[in-house]
Symmetry: C2
Subunit: 388 residues, 2 copies
């Protein structure tokens, strides 16, 4: 039965009978249960391991491949793997700085997520797995034995876009205090991400669980919508493309916010609303937030994707009303990594314009690039400044 557990098990010509069963096995059955059910034994290998000293070992089964590398932000360069006598490629590297990282295998030029890791990076444009490298002391995104909020997948209907999914975090105690109302953070993903990326890769829920437990953050509801106006807008552009921005704006203000405020115990004043986003969603959060200061007192960009020619559209109200903006916003915050390709535009161009116009903002510069490691850092930093 071992062949059933290799990536090549599905490569043979399929027909009826046993090989048809193998197709089944490869494509939808629970392999080990099936192997057992058919009387065979399962001989899987462990595809990802982190040692106590944070050495990372990754394995990938590709007996026919000529070259397999690990591509990951755990290291600056890809990690060359070596094939063992069973056709399994393996590499050990590190020690790796504690964090949670995306990784994939590059197999003869094709990028593949780790079949042995069910922690998948939710994205519409690439396949990556996610590996948690724990630290000597628990990191802010770690799953600790503290009271946990709930992560709920809800479905709302948009007149323009049909049925939409939104992921909502409610803090610990939300159910136990049926009369309590909460402030709301609207948290937007990047351009090819989905409504699941902020929890599965950004660990937004565990970050807030931990900060709330430590008394560092206010209890808040976090609303994580799908930022693409699909199917009206195709999946092949940026969230910041003008047509998507306009269609998503209709859905956000016309459908999503009313749905959230109808179905959750939300505080509905501007001082109880924040909007933040990463990358393309960061450009969106500035465009939505800075131009709707009657709705949001907190406007936040995480490495916001914004071209120079988008400054005016995103800042139309703020540029016209700098003094009002400084009064109306309790916080205008931007975080960006010094190796992030958006760093130059934000630091040298955008912030310069804001300074010239005397628009107040807080900036936070971290090491690293346009990564979700930085997103976790940005969220855990700014969450401590909200609704206080």
């Amino acid at each position: 039965m071992r062949q059933i557990n290799t990536n090549t098990a599905c490569s043979g010509k399929m027909s009826f009978g046993r090989s048809a069963l193998i197709t089944v096995l490869c494509l939808s059955a629970s392999l080990s249960a099936m192997a057992q059910a058919m009387g065979g034994a399962q001989t899987l290998f462990i595809s990802n391991e982190v040692s106590k000293d944070n050495m990372v070992t990754l394995r990938f089964n590709a007996p026919k491949a000529n070259d397999v590398k690990v591509v990951t932000q755990m290291t600056k360069a890809p990690q060359q793997m070596k094939k063992n006598d069973k056709g399994v490629w393996e590499v050990t590297f590190g020690p790796v700085k504690p964090d949670m990282y995306p990784y994939a295998f590059n197999v003869d030029g094709v990028q593949v997520a780790d079949p042995g890791n069910s922690n998948i990076f939710p994205n519409e444009n690439f396949q990556n797995s996610v590996l948690d490298v724990p630290g000597p002391t628990p990191l802010v995104h770690s799953i600790r034995n503290v009271p946990h909020g709930l992560v709920t997948y809800r479905y709302y209907n948009s007149a323009e876009l049909g049925n939409r999914t939104v992921v909502v975090y409610t803090p610990p105690g939300y159910e136990a205090n049926p009369s309590k109302k909460y402030p709301v953070l609207y948290l937007l993903h990047g351009s090819s991400d989905t409504e699941e990326t902020w929890t599965k890769v950004g660990r937004a829920n565990f970050i807030l669980d931990n900060l709330i437990k430590e008394g560092k953050a206010q209890e808040m509801i976090i609303v994580m919508p799908y930022g693409r106006a699909y199917p009206t807008i195709t999946k092949t552009g940026s969230l910041r493309d003008w047509p998507n921005l306009q269609e998503f704006k209709k859905d956000f203000f016309g459908n999503l916010m009313p749905f959230v405020e109808k179905n959750y115990r939300t505080k509905n004043d501007k001082d109880s609303r924040a909007i933040a986003g990463f990358s393309g969603g960061g450009g969106t959060s500035l465009y939505f937030g800075l131009n709707n200061q009657d709705k949001f007192s907190y406007v936040i960009g995480f490495a916001p994707g914004m071209l120079k020619n988008e400054f005016d559209r995103n800042n139309a109200y703020a540029f016209e009303n700098p003094e009002k903006t400084n009064k109306q916003l309790k916080l205008f915050w931007m975080g960006v990594g010094t190796e992030d390709p958006t760093y130059g535009t934000i630091k040298n161009d955008y912030m310069k314009v804001l300074d010239e116009k005397k628009i107040k903002y807080e900036s936070f510069f971290s090491d690293g690039g346009h990564t979700w490691m930085n997103c976790k850092l940005f969220l855990s930093t700014v969450a401590q400044k909200l609704f206080k």
Copy 2:
């Protein structure tokens, strides 16, 4: 920027500077937002399309590959793809019978999920994407504009296993009726699946939303736990392996059920509890259910993984007490596909023993194999028989 959107973008040797940015792009950034942020244009293609007449077109970018096939249960045999002048492999096939199917690309012997499809099959042993092929009339698992229940990810602590995730479906109206109590279906996944597979591939929530709207099913809570006693038990065996069964049993009865009944408005009598499972989880549901008839009046197996030498352990109480079993169980139901490798054992061996012992059961035989298409059919069929 186009290269950034190809699977080969990460294959070059990485260094600092631009190519380091490319690593970033490949591994965690929102590609299109980044492309925009860096002034480039995005030129993605659509990787999966279903025409109005249910012809399916799939595309995969692999300019260097020698052979790319689609492996899927949409068709009996894999679909050979052809490379166009841009290095994108493509195939159109069908018409495909309306349903929701797993599929993957076999690239020179390596199985790859669709990078352009964020609907991923949650599994610890293989990578597959999921494609919904809609029918002329909405299928029972389709997302319709009806009242939707909630799918909530909750985190409970197990003394033995640490922090565990359980996915819970609450029916439409659960929040609006704070004094109402509900029956509970415990629904177990297959051996290499996760707590997410029953909603993401089995569409358990949408199936119940639709059946409840049509008045065909009772309002119920569905509890979908993670069936592996990890980390005590490794991920390399079947859920039905005796050590996992014993450790999971401790967690299920000692931690999970009390947690659910503490945190949800559950009816806590045996007639308000059902247990069902697929494959390895089906073997588990029979073992848990038939041996705990004081807790469950409904015991259900979907292509239950069970070897002949496991009949006695799974049926210890039932075999000793056939008459009591017939009285105590309101329903003992099994569904299996005629092409399922478990079919022979269940139909010819297990049901024969049950007949000999005069233990009552209902059987449901469908076409097809050990698939999640059958799981959706089994759930939508048996859900109409529960708690009535």
